[in-house]
């Protein structure tokens, strides 16, 4: 049986891991290369590196970070943030990413999903969706949460699947960094609308939150602060998940 995945997320800004609340007030949380090895050793199933600034200069720094991480990392690596073209995606894959997540650029140009999937395969093509509840709908946000789109998260997930995406990384802007748990209604809406694996992101503060996400159809959970602050190791989380009846990799 397929195991439920635990994915630490490293938000990277200018070569350092940072963490903020609702994408603001970034604070330093360590070296991405060291943290990557640390999390693999703890039992992480994958890693996500998100370039949270994604200026041109920082993107070059990000390629170097990906190369360094890949040298030792023996688990899958997804990289996202500021990817605007198939060339950007190709550079990250050549640097050592196994999957590339696209967000704002896919909303601006949905054909990018088709092109990436045709060129690199669906299994490389992750569509990251940031969304928040607005007037009763889960409204898609782009540009690190600063631009509201006239697009519903569930409908966008379904369209992403039709265009060839292989996975959805779903982040609740309302919950991100708040430690109040994953946005379960949003997760249900998206996992109902598409049959792709969905990674739940934003709001995790406890194993109970992760159990809820898996029970609401998530294939994987993303978490940052719960691990970066040293409150729990990935191994401790997995032990508790297993005790709660969630199938995890040993």
């Amino acid at each position: 049986m397929l195991k439920s995945r635990i994915i630490p997320c490293l938000d990277v800004n200018d070569g350092r891991v940072v963490k903020g609340v609702k994408f603001q007030n970034l604070r330093d949380a360590g070296d991405p290369v060291e943290l990557s090895f640390h999390y693999e050793a703890q039992g992480a199933d994958e890693l996500v590196l998100l370039d949270v600034t994604a200026t041109r200069q920082d993107r070059i720094a990000m390629l170097e970070t990906v190369e360094k991480v890949r040298t030792k990392l023996r688990i899958p690596l997804t990289v996202g943030g500021g990817i605007a073209s198939i060339e950007d995606a190709g550079r990250l894959l050549n640097a050592g990413a196994d999957k590339v997540s696209i967000n704002s650029a896919a909303v601006r140009n949905p054909q990018l999903i088709n092109d990436m999937s045709a060129r690199f395969g669906a299994q490389c093509t992750v569509v990251a969706i940031d969304a928040k509840m607005t007037n009763g709908v889960f409204q898609v946000l782009t540009r690190s949460g600063t631009t509201a789109e006239t697009l519903d998260a569930a409908a966008w997930a379904a369209e992403s699947q039709r265009r060839g995406a292989g996975e959805i990384l779903l982040t609740s802007f309302d919950r991100d960094g708040t430690r109040s748990g994953y946005d379960l209604p949003m997760l249900t809406a998206v996992t109902t609308a598409c049959s792709l694996p969905v990674i739940a992101s934003g709001g995790a503060d406890s194993v109970a939150h992760m159990v809820e996400a898996f029970e609401h159809g998530a294939h994987a959970v993303l978490a940052a602060s719960i691990f970066h602050d040293g409150n729990m190791t990935v191994g401790e989380v997995k032990t508790q998940l297993a005790a709660a009846g969630i199938l995890v990799r040993s």
């Binding site: 397929l2 890949r70 694996p197």
Partner: protein, 212 residues
């Protein structure tokens, strides 16, 4: 020297990094003579069945790979590389695989999330036989790895164990064949290069002692 067949459609940096960690020299090849003479050859696979099959034919490598298997020289086929051993795939009707095994690769059904993305258990069949006390003289050849958890990223898979090959099984949408081996040829639907310490050990075993 490990020769990695460069079909141009695969994202293989992770595989290269895995061989680097094992301190095994490798290079990319598009040359039939190198594929014939190398000590070890890898047919990697990320990407589409049709694009990879076309690349193999465009580079004139089809016969070299088939010949290598016939001569039982060390060959490792990964993910799509394993699927290419079949006659055809539902992914690309009408496109000929290498036809080393007389099977068709089929898509997972819509009752499960597709692609299968993540970690799943890989169980060699002879391990089952051993645990259930079977002592058939026609048992599988020695298994090239022990039961473990491996990383998968696939929408299509082999559903039957080919005659004359050892097989490992995995459960997703029912059981499917997640690895086959015969002599020095090993094919894995999963990615050993992304499968942690277990996957690294599998690669080391294949290089150091290709279960001859």
């Amino acid at each position: 020297m490990i020769q990695i067949i460069n079909t141009g459609v695969a994202n293989i940096r992770s595989l290269e990094a895995a061989f680097d960690r094992l301190q095994q020299p490798w290079q990319l090849t598009e040359d039939a003579n190198q594929i014939a003479s190398a000590t070890h050859v890898v047919l990697p696979g990320v990407g589409a069945f049709s694009a990879a099959a076309e690349a193999i034919d465009r580079l004139g490598l089809r016969e070299a790979v088939i010949e290598r298997i016939a001569r039982d020289k060390p060959l490792l086929c990964i993910c799509l590389g394993m699927q290419l051993l079949a006659e055809s795939s539902e992914e690309a009707p009408g496109v000929a695989g290498l036809s080393v095994i007389p099977h068709q690769i089929k898509r997972f059904s819509n009752t499960v999330a597709v692609p299968q993305l993540g970690w799943n258990e890989v169980r060699p069949r002879s391990a089952n036989a051993a645990s259930s006390g079977s002592s058939s003289s026609n048992a599988n050849p020695p298994t090239p790895f022990v039961t473990g958890e491996a990383y998968f990223a696939n929408s299509f898979r082999l559903t039957e164990c080919p005659d004359g090959w050892g097989c490992a099984e995995t459960e997703y949408d029912g059981p499917f064949i997640s690895s086959i081996w015969r002599g020095r040829v090993l094919a894995c639907q999963f990615h050993p290069e992304l499968s942690g310490a277990w996957g690294q050990q599998l690669l080391a075993n294949w290089i150091g002692n290709p279960h001859a």
